[in-house]
Every structure is written in C-alpha cells, then in structure tokens.
C-alpha cells in the first residue's frame, strides 16, 4: 500500500471526469456526446470504488458503483433510441441542427 494510496485513483477519476465534460461540450456528433456521458459516469465510479477500499465506506461504494453502471447502460439505450429517431427525422446526427424548439 505504500505506493499508490487513494490520491492516484482520485486523480485518474478526475482526469476521466474532466475529459468527459470536455467531450460533452465540444462534440457535435450526438453519439460523441453520449461517449462523454459514459466517461463522466466512469470517473465517478472510480472514485466510489477507491473510497470503498481506502475509506470507511466498505461495500457500499461498490454497490453504488454497480447501480451507476446499470443506470448508465439504461441511459445509453434510451439516448441512442432518441438519437436514432432524430436521425430518421432530420437525416443528420449533428446536435447543433436540433434547434426546432428554439424560440
């Protein structure tokens, strides 16, 4: 345990989270935005499991990370269905073109 400690894992989680946020902000492809969301949730999972080992959280952190994984899968399924519907209606996947509700 002398080598890594919790800080290394938290740093990895922070990098994953920041990359996911940048990915969500910059990608114009709808699927790319979904990949950013996956990265953000994954960074949060790394933090949960790291605290589960190094903190007093115990098994709770791992169980919460399992819930996060399942909910991420569900979210990806619904968002992908919406993206396919959008593509069928507009013949594009560019999120900047999704401006029909704009005032």
């Amino acid at each position: 345990m002398e080598g890594i400690g919790i800080n290394g894992f938290l740093a990895v989680g922070a990098v994953l989270f920041a990359c996911g946020v940048i990915c969500m902000a910059t990608k114009r492809n709808g699927i790319g935005v979904l990949m950013g969301v996956e990265l953000v949730l994954n960074g949060a999972n790394v933090n949960f499991v790291a605290f589960s080992k190094y903190g007093p959280l115990g098994l709770d952190g791992q169980i919460v990370s399992l819930f996060v994984i399942v909910l991420a899968a569900a979210e990806a399924a619904v968002a992908l269905a919406i993206a396919l519907n959008f593509y069928n209606n507009h013949l594009t996947i560019d999120v900047d073109r999704a401006n029909e509700l704009q005032g």
Binding site: I31, L57, L59, A73
Partner: protein, 204 residues
C-alpha cells in the same frame, strides 16, 4: 508490481479518455472508449472490487459500447463520421476543462485522507472490507457479500457486531432499478421502432 500495474492501467485510462476527446472520427472514439473503460476495469480489480470490475467489462465494454457502435453504424453517412467543432469552441472547452481538472486535483491533494480515515475508523469502526470473519480481504470475493447486500442482508457489517441493530441493505434500490430497467426497455423499444419517415428535408 502493484505500482507498475497501476501506472499501466492509469495511463491507458487517461490516455484513452484524452484520445476520445481529441479524436474527430466517431468510430475511433468508440475504440478509444473501449480502451479507457477496459483499463478502468483493471483499476477496479486492483481496488479489490472483482465483481464491479467484471460487471464493468460485461456491461460497459460488452454492452454499452457495442450499443454505441451500433448507433454509429446506423447513423454514419459520409460527412457525419467526422463533424468538426470550431477551433474557438475547442480551445475554450479545453481551457475550462483544464482549469476544472486543476482545481479538483489541487483540492484532492490537499485533503489528509489517511488522517480522516483514522478519525472515521475511531468513530464508526474499521472498514468492513478489513473486518475479519465472513470473508477475508485479499481473497477478493466480494460477489457473495454484494449479492446478500442487494437482498437486504449485510453480512459484511453485521457479523460479529455487538449491538442488536442491523445495517441497511439495498433491497429497495434494487427493486427500483429493476422497474427502471423494465421501463427503459419498453421506452427504448417504443422510441426506436421502425416507422415511416415523416418528412424528408429538401435542403440537405
């Protein structure tokens, strides 16, 4: 050895995430996402979370990313494979993201985690992963304890405890997630069903 493995997995996870951000081709982004998520599963194995790591590999890498790749294939038509955002947006987002990352890392490094852990152990008892009894840490078998916790019984906290109060299980969240998955299944099938194209825009 542990340090070497951590370095490999951490570099692969962070590098994969950076490549997802910097790559412009959607198919390559999906491939880098597989690398990043798989290395994160390796990090989970290093953190004694074998069931979570296996679930990560099965559901994330095997399910979600394959779903995303199917989405890429169904929507990939020529120019949409590589939509570029404007360089100004990219610079702005990377600047904000780097500032956010710096803030988080500086904050995390300033916390005295070990001191906090000692204080919390004094208050609430040792971490349940380290408590002797049902299953020793280091064997890594968290599957049975996670299954029991999802059914509402917390062997990892309640075995050998002196007071009569039982710890909280996760039966209700488990059922909520089950119903949620059913709703998502129906909703996704409803949204993605094949139907007649409503209108074809003439401009594009």
């Amino acid at each position: 050895m542990e340090m070497l493995l951590f370095t490999i997995f951490a570099c692969a996870a962070c590098g994969g995430a950076l490549a997802v951000v910097l790559s412009q081709n959607v198919v390559r982004m999906a491939f880098y996402l597989v690398i990043s998520l798989g290395s994160t599963a390796g990090l989970f194995f290093m953190l004694d979370a074998d069931f979570v790591g296996a679930t990560q590999l099965l559901i994330y890498v095997g399910g979600t990313v394959v779903l995303l790749i199917f989405g890429v294939m169904l929507t990939a038509s020529g120019p949409f494979l590589t939509i570029k955002s404007s360089p100004g947006d990219m610079v702005q987002a990377i600047l904000v993201g780097a500032l956010f990352l710096g803030m988080v890392v500086v904050t995390v490094l300033q916390v005295d985690w070990e001191g906090n852990a000692v204080k919390l152990e004094g208050q609430y008892g040792a971490s349940s992963l380290e408590r002797p009894g049902y299953n020793q840490r280091g064997e890594g078998h968290t599957t049975r304890r996670i299954g029991a916790a999802l059914l509402g019984a917390r062997f990892d906290k309640d075995l050998g405890k002196q007071s009569g109060q039982l710890s909280t299980g996760y039966l209700l969240p488990f059922e909520v997630v089950s119903v949620h998955l059913l709703v998502v299944l129906i909703g996704a099938a409803y949204l993605a069903r094949a139907k007649r194209r409503v209108r074809v825009p003439s401009g594009s």
